[in-house]
Symmetry: C2
C-alpha cells in the first residue's frame, strides 16, 4: 500500500461543511479520522492532489497537514507522504456479535466439506486466464439468467456422460450453490400451490429451513437400508438417491421407479455423485423421468464450496418460472467463475481432478474401514461419497471424548428431522482433513472410539 | 477435446440394465446416443478403460464398439480412438422459448451498463492470481455469510475514504449484485412488519418487482430538480441520492437531512457514486445517519455487471437479520471473486481503474453535451454518473427513428412508476458503447434527433 499517490491514484472524499479554509479542512480531516473514515495507516493524498480535488490552494492543504501532524492525528516521512497515525480505533457503535464465527478446532471430521488443500489452484487460474482472454465483452454484462451458455453446454455434456442425466443446455440453470437453487424451486412450487414438500428423516437442517422460509410445509419420510421410503411421498420431495445424506445408503432401484411413477416432483440432490468407489455406478434418478425430477449437482464437494457454483437440470415446465424467480432474487453467480468452470470442464481438467481426488478419498475410506474394523464397529455408506456412517453405542460420549482431544465429530442426531431421535452414530467426513493431517486426525478418532 | 483418453481421463456412466454382455453393452451405448447422453463428436473411453470401469472383458467392449461402428452409431480412426458419429440431434422434448434472448442491436445508448471493453482483464487476472496464491485453504470453504473478511475490510476503508460512508467491516454485507441485497433487505423489512416501501417516480422496474415479490406495498414519491420529495416518505424508502436514476438529479442537502430526520429507513442505491465530474463531491447520504440508512454500492458500473459483486453498509440493527435472510436464500458470491476484488482495491488498482474510466466517460459526456447543444435541446443529470437525461419534444418518435438506424435508445417512460406518464425525454447511457464505436453511435444519435 505504500506506493506513491500518483500511481496509486487513491480518492478521498471530504465534506468541507464549514469554511473552505485551513481550519475547515483540519476539522474535516479530524472528523474523518475520528469516525474512522480514514483508518490508522491509511495514506493521504499529496497536498497538491488534495488541493486540486477540493479547489483549495496547495499551501492551505500543506498547512492543515502540518497542524494535524503536530497534533498527532497524522504522521509523515519526509518526501514519502502522509499517513493517518496509529491509534486505538474507536467503533462508531457496539458491533453485533459475530454469530457466524466458528471456534477453531485442530482436527475435524464433520461432513460436508472436501479437503480444500486439494483445490487445483494452478489449473483453475490457468482456466480463468484462458476463459477471460477468450470471452467476448458481452459476457461481462448482465448475462442470461440461466447462466453463461458455454457453461450450460459443458454441463449438459458432462452430466449426460458421467451421471446419465437427460438434459439440454436450455434446461440447465446455474446457481450460486445448491441452497440457492433449492430456494428458487421452492418459491416456484409454492407459487403453484404446492403445500408440502417431503424430506428424508435425516438431512441438512439448512435445507429444511429454506423450505419452511418459502412457506412450504415439511413432511418427513423414513430412511432404511434401501434409502428413503417412497411410498408416502406427496406432491414434491427432496431426496439424495445416490448417497443418502448423511446415512450414506443408496436408493433402491425399485424405489426409484416407484417414486417417479407416483407423479411426485423429486428434487434429486446429487451432492457427491462423482465419488463412487465400487464398480457398479449409480446413475442419476433423473434419467428415469426428466419431466418429474429436478437434478441438482454442485462444485462444492468436487472442487470447493467457496466457488459458489451449482446447477439444476430442470424439467421443461419449470425452466421459465425458476429462471424468473432467480432473476427477481438476484441469484446469479459471477460470469468469470462460470466461464472458468466451463473451460475447466471442456478442457478435461475437471475429469482429471475428479479422478485424482477420488483415488485419494478412496484410500482414506479404506484406512477408515480398517481403523473401525479393528474395533468391531459397523460402518455403512462407504460405497460412495465423502463421508460414512459409524454406528456406535453412545454417540454423545464419543463426540465429547473427541472434542476433548481437539477433534470435531458430528453425531447423526444433528441431522435428524425434528421429532426424530436418530440411531446413535457418527457421521465421519473423512474427506475434510488436509492430507498432511490425516494420520493424526485418524489417530484421534481411534482414541475417541470405544 | 481430441486428446488421448489417458490424459483427459474422462468418465462415462453407463447403465447395463440387461445382461453384462456384448449385447447389453451395445444396447446401453445405443440408448446413450439416442437420448444424447453421448452427443455427436463426444469421445469414448478406450476399450481397455471402459472394460475396467464396467468389469467386462476388454474383447467384449472392443466387439461392441466394432458392432456400433458398423451400424453407424460410432466412428473410429485407427489408433486414434472412437467417437460418437455426427448425426442430427433429436431433442428430448420441445425447448422452452429463450425468453431472455435479446435481439442484436448494432448501436446502443440504453443506460445501466458501462463500456465492457474497458474491463481491466489483465489487472483483474493478476489480482486473482495474487489473491488465490495467498488465500488460506479455509477461504475456499463455506465462508462467512457476510462475505470474505479481506473484502469487507477493503470496502469499509474504501467507502469511508471515497464516499464518506461511516461503517466497519462487521457491518458490510457482500452480495451478488444490488438486486440480491435489495431482496434480502426487503425480506427483513417484511418480517419486521413494514408494510410499504416508497420508491421514486422514476426507477428500475426490476427493483419494483423485487419489492412486490417480497410482499411489500409500493408507494411512489415525486422527483423534481432537487431530487425525490422526501416529505411524504413512510417507514422505508429506496432512493438514489447521488444521481437519481434515471433523471440524473442530485438530492438536495436539505432534503437529505429531512429524510433521515423523519426516521425513515432509507436504502441508498449509490449505483454510480464513483463517477462525479464536478469539483464538489456529493458524499453518501448514509453518513448523516448510519443507523437509518442502508448504503448500497456495486461493482456493476465501476467494473462489470458480470462480476456479480455488490455491497451493503448496514445499520447495526439490521446486520444479523439480513445475513440470516441471505444465508437462507443461499445468496453468497464466490470466494475467489471476492478475494480478487479485495486485492484489486487494496493494491490501488481499483482507484486507478476508476480514475482512468472516469476521464473517458467525462470526455464522452462533454461530446454529448456539445452534440445536443447544437440542437438547442436541454440535457440534465450531467454532473455525475454514466447517463444523462435529454429532453425531447416527442420521445417515441425519436426512439423509433433511432431504431430504424440500428441505434437503441430508451425513453424516460420505460422507467416511470405505474400510473405515471413521465415527461418526454431520452435516457442516454453514454458509457455503454465501446470506445471504437462511440463516434458512429453519436452520429446516429445526431441523425435521430429533431
Amino acid at each position: 500500500m505504500r506506493e506513491s499517490w500518483a500511481t496509486s491514484g487513491s480518492d478521498l472524499h471530504l465534506e468541507l461543511a464549514g469554511q473552505r479554509s485551513k481550519t475547515g479542512l483540519e476539522q474535516a480531516l479530524r472528523a474523518a479520522v475520528r469516525r474512522e473514515q480514514l483508518t490508522a495507516g491509511a495514506r493521504l493524498p499529496s497536498s497538491r492532489q488534495l488541493a486540486e480535488d477540493l479547489g483549495l490552494a496547495r499551501n492551505t492543504v500543506a498547512e492543515a497537514y502540518g497542524q494535524l501532524i503536530a497534533e498527532g492525528w497524522l504522521t509523515a516521512r519526509h518526501g514519502a507522504g502522509t499517513w493517518v497515525a496509529e491509534r486505538t480505533p474507536v467503533s462508531v457503535t457496539a458491533e453485533p456479535p459475530a454469530r457466524t464465527a466458528h471456534s477453531t478446532v485442530d482436527y475435524d471430521l464433520s461432513p460436508g466439506v472436501p479437503d480444500l488443500s486439494l483445490f487445483p489452484r494452478a489449473a483453475w487460474l490457468a482456466a480463468a486466464r484462458k476463459a477471460l482472454s477468450a470471452a467476448p465483452n458481452d459476457l461481462l454484462g448482465y448475462g442470461d439468467p440461466r447462466g453463461v451458455e458455454a457453461l450450460r453446454v459443458a454441463l449438459a455434456e458432462y452430466l449426460g456422460r458421467v451421471r446419465g442425466v437427460v438434459t439440454t443446455p436450455e434446461r440447465i440453470f446455474v446457481s450460486a450453490g445448491f441452497a440457492q437453487g433449492l430456494d428458487a424451486v421452492c418459491q416456484v412450487l409454492r407459487d403453484r400451490s404446492t403445500q408440502t414438500l417431503t424430506t428424508e428423516a435425516y438431512g441438512l437442517p439448512l435445507h429444511r429451513s429454506i423450505i419452511s422460509a418459502r412457506g412450504l410445509q415439511i413432511a418427513t419420510t423414513d430412511v432404511d437400508a434401501d434409502g428413503a421410503d417412497v411410498d408416502s411421498l406427496g406432491d414434491a420431495a427432496l431426496l439424495t438417491p445416490a448417497h443418502q445424506f448423511p446415512t450414506g445408503v443408496s436408493l433402491d432401484p425399485g424405489r426409484r421407479r416407484r417414486a417417479v411413477e407416483r407423479g411426485t416432483l423429486v428434487i434429486e440432490d446429487d451432492y457427491d455423485g462423482e465419488f463412487r468407489y465400487n464398480r457398479a455406478a449409480v446413475g442419476a434418478m433423473q434419467a428415469l423421468a426428466p419431466e418429474r425430477v429436478v437434478y441438482a449437482g454442485t462444485a462444492s464437494k468436487s472442487l470447493a464450496p467457496g466457488l459458489r457454483l451449482a446447477w439444476l437440470a430442470l424439467p421443461g415446465h419449470l425452466v421459465d418460472d425458476v429462471v424468473e424467480a432467480a432473476r427477481l432474487g438476484g441469484r446469479l453467480p459471477g460470469a468469470i467463475e462460470q466461464l472458468t468452470l466451463a473451460e475447466f470442464i471442456a478442457s478435461g481438467s475437471y475429469d482429471r481432478h475428479i479422478r485424482r481426488v477420488r483415488l485419494i478419498y478412496r484410500r482414506r475410506r479404506d484406512q477408515l474401514v480398517e481403523l473401525v474394523g479393528a474395533r468391531d464397529l459397523r460402518i455403512t455408506g462407504i460405497a460412495a461419497g465423502l463421508h460414512a456412517l459409524l454406528e456406535v453405542p453412545d454417540e454423545e460420549r464419543i463426540v465429547h471424548r473427541a472434542a476433548a482431544q481437539g477433534l470435531r465429530l458430528r453425531g447423526l442426531r444433528n441431522y435428524a428431522a425434528p421429532g426424530r431421535t436418530g440411531r446413535p452414530a457418527i457421521v465421519v467426513g473423512y474427506a475434510r482433513p488436509p492430507q498432511h493431517r490425516l494420520a493424526e486426525t485418524f489417530a484421534r478418532l481411534r482414541a475417541a472410539l470405544p
